[in-house]
Amino acid sequence: MQDFAGLTRDVAFLVYPGIQRLNDLSDVLIAVAYFLLPVVLVKLVRGRRDIPRRGIFFCFIALLVTGAITHVMAVAMPRPHADWLNSALKAETALISLVVLVLLWRLMPSMLALPSRADVETADEHTTSVLESTTVCVMAMDSEWMVNYVNRNAQALLKVQGNMLGMTLWEAFPVDNAVIRQTLLDVMRTRQPAAYEKYYQPLDLSVTVQAHPWNDGGVVIFFSDVSEQKRMQHELDWERVTREQRIQVLARLSASIAHEMKNPLAIIHARASDLAELAEEEEIPREEVAKTCASIVRTSDRAMRILRGLASLARQGSKDPMQKAEVREMVDQTIELVRGRYQTHEISLQSMIPDGLPRVECREVQIGQVLLNLLNNAFDAIDASPDSQRWVRVKAYVEEVYTDGAVGGDGIDWLQIDVIDGGPALSPEVRENLMEPFYTTKPLGGGIGIGLSVSRAIASDHGGDLALHECDGHTCFRLRLPVRATKSSEVAA
């Protein structure tokens, strides 16, 4: 059959030489195409790594190459040799074709399962809508840290303006923290997820972050805003510190307060039991009764004053609402708490508070705490040095229209409470560090040095401040509190 066909073809070629040339040209073109097709296939397989059963492509490539070779043979080789080789190649082609058939048949289900472009787009939209609707912020980066996705929450939280896509993470958010930077680099490198917390100062933002490796070779960062929790935590911590400081001050005072209470009680007890005893024995003159009772009333008032000061300090105070309070009353109550100790150590304590001071909006307990800290410090300063003049003065007055840049004077008067002591002048080193937490000049056990820093924080919490001044060469701590002037009602409390 082959001979017959060959004869036929040869006769045709001899009759029409053009047919021979067309045949050869076609063989060459087919061979070129068959040789180039595997290149395209390899590129395709390399580009789409999700294509299943890639082995089949190599079968295709083998088929194409053998095909190409047959066509080259048809042109290049003399007839009898070519016929032999052609037969052999045909046999091989047949074999590979059968293998391809079987493989292709088996591959059919998974080929059919390959998502269509429409499927992929739907899925993509679905994922995006999930990522967009979650409350978590999501940001994805490719393997070069190039940002390729930022969900709406993340954009809102990070106050993204313009397009972050196409910037690297480091450009979009300069990561100043070396540890966090290293953590992220590690996630990228080791493909192991990591979690951390971060405070982002430019936005006053606290976030918890989870960084996960993504299967496109990049990293996805999930993060949530925990600033509110942090703020609450901070508030709780702050509340705890002030409370503990107050308790510490109270504990220090407790011995002298117990003594302060015992004396009035002893007087009341003695007066009353005396009266009772006398009444049993004889008639007591009216004026004697009146005198004794007056003493009892006077003394119990004294005890009450001490207790009032104590009770108001021992109370939780930081959650109290701001309320208008009488300056004189606050100062007097505090003074009453330390008076005994001052007296025992022969330190005169004078308060100079004029009539008609405006009431000041504050948390009384906290201002009491500040005053108590100042009075205790003054006491310690005087008692620690033999060169001290043994006096402390508390002055209160209103400084009108105080302007110092940040807080303008319009509408606000400042109530100033000065605590001035006759202790030795403070050294520059002490002056500089005085307000720092845990700085103390007192001997071990004398205090832990948070009194002034807590006091200053309380003052600024009230919109005022606490600063060290010098009055006629004496140490003077000045507590300033804003007094809301009646004319301006919109000044913040």
């Binding site: 002298s256 015992k262 004396n263 007087i267 003695a270 005396d274 007296q343």
Partner: protein, 285 residues
């Protein structure tokens, strides 16, 4: 001495309390002087013969404890001392050693103050004569080797109002106590009722003020108190580590033979008629 014959110095920085105490004592018709603080009191003590000092503790200039220490340092004749105060931060053991006889808490009753005064003015002979009717709240019965042990402790010291001794179980302050101490070297024993005034857990020492002395021991106890007037009301005892002075059985006596020669053991001291250890105040610290 009767209250009416006594001179009492009242020291308190609280004018009204001073006035009240003075009035109370005045009603007992004794002579009353007052001072506003320890320094003023010291001037008066140097000038006048004071039988009883009634003092507050917390005071300006010189407080009560400082006053009593100064009195001792200056070698002034020590009156009976009664502290009237709150005692949160005062070492009772030291106070009784310094000669304080009673520590009365404010507020206090007139009869408590007068009772303490009368008690402190009584001669030793008049004291501790009648046993209490009601049973004591606790009971201690121990044996003490009075010869010094290797650590130099005695385990027993006598003051003019009570005694201190080594005891390794906590005794509660203020409890009444039946006290029975045997001194095997001398065949003597102390049988007394008293009140626990302090207990020092670290040193395992107890201080007891007498309320009653059994007739069979009364003789030698009073004699010891008289031979050299003790400064301490209850000696603070010798501190030489927990349990070191411990109650000793006679088995421990063998090691004390050598020490016997220095004349500080109880029997040696009785033979010599005087011993600073046994009458307190001179005990090593």
């Amino acid at each position: 001495m009767k209250l009416s014959e006594a001179t009492v110095l009242v020291v308190d920085d609280e004018p009204e309390l001073r006035e009240i105490f003075a009035a109370w004592l005045g009603r007992g018709s004794c002579k009353v002087l007052t001072a506003a603080n320890g320094a003023d009191a010291l001037t008066i003590l140097a000038r006048e013969k004071i039988d009883v000092l009634v003092s507050d503790i917390r005071m300006p200039v010189l407080d009560g404890v400082g006053l009593v220490r100064r009195v001792r340092e200056m070698g002034l004749e020590i009156p009976s001392i009664i502290f009237v105060s709150g005692f949160g931060d005062v070492d009772r053991r030291e106070m009784y050693d310094l000669g304080v006889e009673a520590m009365l808490e404010k507020p206090l009753r007139r009869r408590d103050l007068l009772g303490a005064l009368e008690q402190s003015l009584m001669a030793r002979e008049e004291l501790w004569l009648t046993p209490a009717v009601e049973p004591m709240e606790c009971s201690v019965s121990i044996t003490i080797d009075t010869r010094k042990d290797a650590m130099g402790g005695d385990g027993f010291e006598l003051g003019r109002g009570g005694c201190s001794f080594s005891y390794d179980r906590r005794l509660e302050e203020g409890k009444t106590i039946d006290l029975s101490i045997k001194f095997p070297e001398t065949d003597r024993s102390l049988q007394a009722q008293g009140e626990v005034r302090w207990y020092h857990a670290d040193y395992e020492l107890a201080g007891v003020a007498f309320r009653y002395l059994d007739p069979q021991c009364r003789g030698w106890v009073l004699e010891r108190m008289m031979t050299k007037m003790a400064r301490a009301f209850i000696p603070e005892g010798t501190c030489h580590g927990a349990g070191a002075a411990g109650r000793r059985s006679t088995a421990g006596a063998g090691s004390g033979v050598e020490v016997l020669h220095d004349g500080r053991g109880l029997d040696a001291e009785v033979a010599e008629g005087a011993d600073e250890l046994a009458v307190g105040g001179g005990g090593g610290r």
